[in-house]
């Protein structure tokens, strides 16, 4: 199997879906002639034509809102927000129109919204966010956050085939840094299934996105401790079974995410564990996250905010010793 980057995997997955079903089309800013700010749709307009690769005006509500209408009429739009941060400009259409449509009206909205998320490159407060927690509070949206090239491709296909609006978080840090073997052709990885990135018995690190590799690296050699790393992959639906199984096994949990602390996905996972696996706990559930600040620009400030390997190591060692 060829080894490709996370970015290439997303591009391949999208291309496969567009070849497979002509009702799939892309819309977003600079995705056509320019090939996308991150080149995900490079070559697409040449292959699929301007009809199916729409260079939209600078209007996020329009991108999301027209996608809702097109999806209602049987197309499968894949929206791109140039940066995840800009979803706030299309928030109304996403949470009020797209998310609630099936519940209220029984009308499915099969659309996907791709969000290039995350920091670590001095992008500053408006190009570095991880906004996934907002969508956990908007019933009707599914949310996925792949960490590997294979997952990126498979989850994108599944998201596009899903009859619901799916928010797809692609972490920019992983675009060219994450490489892996990915099967050619179409394949889907089901939404709602976590993946054990590394099995372990002494402590579980539960995480997703760019933090998965960071967790694996940070816990590779922790005084001989056997640390399990669970990659959630899917945030809505959440694989509660996999979470509780890991907790039952190790009884010590560190929940890790790059997004800010308060009411993040980590808060949800921690509460779930406290309620459903209380009698399996041999220590408090610990979160390692960014603090509640916007993501700063200057490298030392950004490093101080985004979780670093040492933060994960320290948290794990303290919990192991508890």
């Amino acid at each position: 199997m060829p080894e490709i980057t996370y970015l290439q995997a997303i591009s391949d997955g999208l291309r496969e879906e567009m070849r497979h079903d002509e009702s799939v089309f892309c819309l977003g800013e600079d995705i056509g002639a320019f090939g996308g700010a991150f080149k995900v749709t490079d070559g697409f307009i040449e292959e699929f034509g301007a009809d199916r690769v729409w260079d939209t005006p600078l209007a996020e509500n329009a991108i999301i809102g027209t996608a809702v209408g097109a999806a209602a009429e049987g197309l499968r739009p894949v929206c791109e927000m140039q940066f995840a941060d800009f979803i706030s400009c299309g928030f109304d259409q996403l949470v009020n129109v797209a998310a609630k449509m099936h519940y209220r009206q029984g009308l499915a909205v099969p659309m996907t919204v791709r969000l290039p998320s995350g920091g670590g490159f001095s992008g500053g407060p408006f190009h570095s966010q991880n906004p996934e927690a907002w969508f956990l509070q908007s019933p009707g949206l599914k949310v996925v956050a792949p960490s590997t090239p294979e997952d990126a491709k498979g989850l994108l296909s599944a998201a596009i085939r899903d009859p619901n609006p799916v928010v797809y978080l692609e972490h920019k840090h992983l675009y060219r840094r994450a490489k892996g073997e990915v099967a050619e052709g179409r394949f889907e990885i089901p939404l709602g299934e976590a993946r054990v990135a590394r099995e372990g018995t002494d402590l579980s690190v539960i995480t997703y996105g760019a933090m998965v590799q960071l967790a694996l690296d940070a816990t590779e050699d922790l005084d001989g401790a056997s640390v399990e790393v669970l990659d959630l992959r899917s945030l809505v639906p959440l694989d509660t079974g996999a979470i509780l199984e890991s907790v039952r096994k190790t009884s010590k949990v560190v929940v890790l995410h790059e997004a800010t602390r308060s009411c993040g996905v980590g808060a949800e996972v921690s509460a779930l564990i406290a309620q459903e696996a209380f009698e399996d706990l041999d220590g408090p559930v610990v979160r390692v996250t960014a603090p509640d600040t916007p993501v700063p620009f200057s490298p030392p400030l950004e490093r101080a905010v985004l979780p670093q390997p040492d933060d994960v190591r320290r948290a794990c060692l303290e919990l192991l010793a508890y």
Partner: protein, 355 residues
């Protein structure tokens, strides 16, 4: 680009079929307006009897705007209908009983209690239900039109919005996208003089119909209380869209004769204004006109009353929804199916007969 309220006797559309109204069509126009008013009056009574939870909104005085415009649509066209446009729902095929059940939050209502008042649409009849945030549906309508455009289909998407919502950024985004892509949409701007209590001069500095030009397509102003004027303006816009001519903004001037909702006594409306517009009631005037031309309008009224009585009885018999259904339907398990709507305009029967 901006035309007057003159009503052409007939318009030739791109397909060559003449756009006109038969006697049956005109009877139907009156009937649908009467049906809309009767349904809303009945609903208001039910509201005052404590059977309608939440708020109640109607489009009294604006019946011609929804009926006249929706009457132009073919079965495969699609709509996003707003809260003062009950006539459009009725034309597309939603029965009054389901509307009443919807307002009462019953299981037999269009959303089975999931959403209230006019936040409904029957997707099996090709309608997409509105949200409270206005004018979000204008962008959704553009999306429907994009699908027709991509598939090269001669189909049209129509929506309504009030003059107040033209102050919102999403209205601009919708107009802009529609103009850039020359989408097959018809935007019906219901200028009913007030957005809740806010009069027009607080919502815009320039008459919205003039803005269409700036977005690259025609803006047309019509007398929103003249159902045939609305019909012909809409028919022309629909045919323009269907033949690839792009969008039209139709500003229908009318007046909201009730408050924003049943909770609003509209005391902020000057008395003279109310009197002025009462005299221009769309139903009274069209009924008189048809009677003068020899139509038996009493028979239409009787029929509407009979229908409403039966529909009300049905609606009152519908049970409330089971509590467990509140947890159901958050996610879809199957792809959407937007069905076709009724198209009572005789033109469509003729086309179907000729096909």
């Amino acid at each position: 680009m901006a035309t007057t309220t003159a009503r052409p006797a007939a318009i030739e559309d791109g397909g060559g079929a003449s756009v006109d109204l038969t006697g049956d069509d005109r009877r139907a126009l009156l009937r649908y307006m009467l049906l809309m008013r009767a349904t809303e009056e009945r609903a208001l009574t039910l509201y005052r009897q404590g059977k309608v939870p939440g708020s109640f909104y109607d489009g009294r005085g604006q019946e011609a705007v929804s009926v006249g415009a929706a009457f132009t649509l073919g079965p495969r066209d699609r709509t996003c209908i707003l809260h003062r446009d009950l006539g459009a729902h009725l034309i597309r095929g939603v029965k009054p009983g389901r509307v009443l059940a919807q307002m009462m939050g019953r299981a037999g209502g269009v959303t089975a209690g999931k959403d209230g008042n006019m936040h409904f649409a029957d997707h099996e009849l090709g309608c997409v239900g509105m949200v409270s945030m206005l004018p979000d549906m204008a962008l959704v309508t553009c999306g429907l039109a994009i699908a027709f455009q991509m598939r090269r289909e001669p189909r049209v998407a129509m929506t309504w919005f009030g003059e107040g919502s033209t102050a919102n950024g999403q209205w601009h985004e919708a107009m802009n996208v529609a103009g850039i892509r020359k989408l097959p949409v018809v935007f019906i701007l219901e200028n009913n003089q007030f957005a809740y209590s806010t009069p027009n001069d607080h919502e815009f500095a320039v008459d919205p119909v003039k803005r269409a030009e700036v977005y690259g397509f025609p803006g047309v102003k019509v007398d929103g209380n003249d159902v045939e004027a609305v019909f012909f303006a809409a028919a022309q816009a629909v045919e323009r869209a269907r033949s690839g001519g792009g969008p039209t903004l139709i500003e229908a001037e009318t007046m909201r004769m009730h408050g924003h909702g049943a909770h609003d006594d509209m005391s902020y409306v000057p008395k003279e204004m109310v009197e002025h517009w009462t005299a221009r009631d769309p139903i009274d005037n069209y009924e008189r006109k048809l009677r003068e031309e020899g139509f038996d309008t009493d028979e239409i009224r009787e029929s509407v009353k009979g229908e409403l009585d039966a529909e009300t009885e049905w609606a009152l018999a519908q049970p409330m929804p089971e509590p467990h259904t509140a947890l159901e339907g958050v996610f879809a398990t199957e792809d959407p199916v937007l069905g076709d709507g009724n198209a009572p305009w005789s033109r469509w029967q003729r086309e179907a007969a000729n096909a």
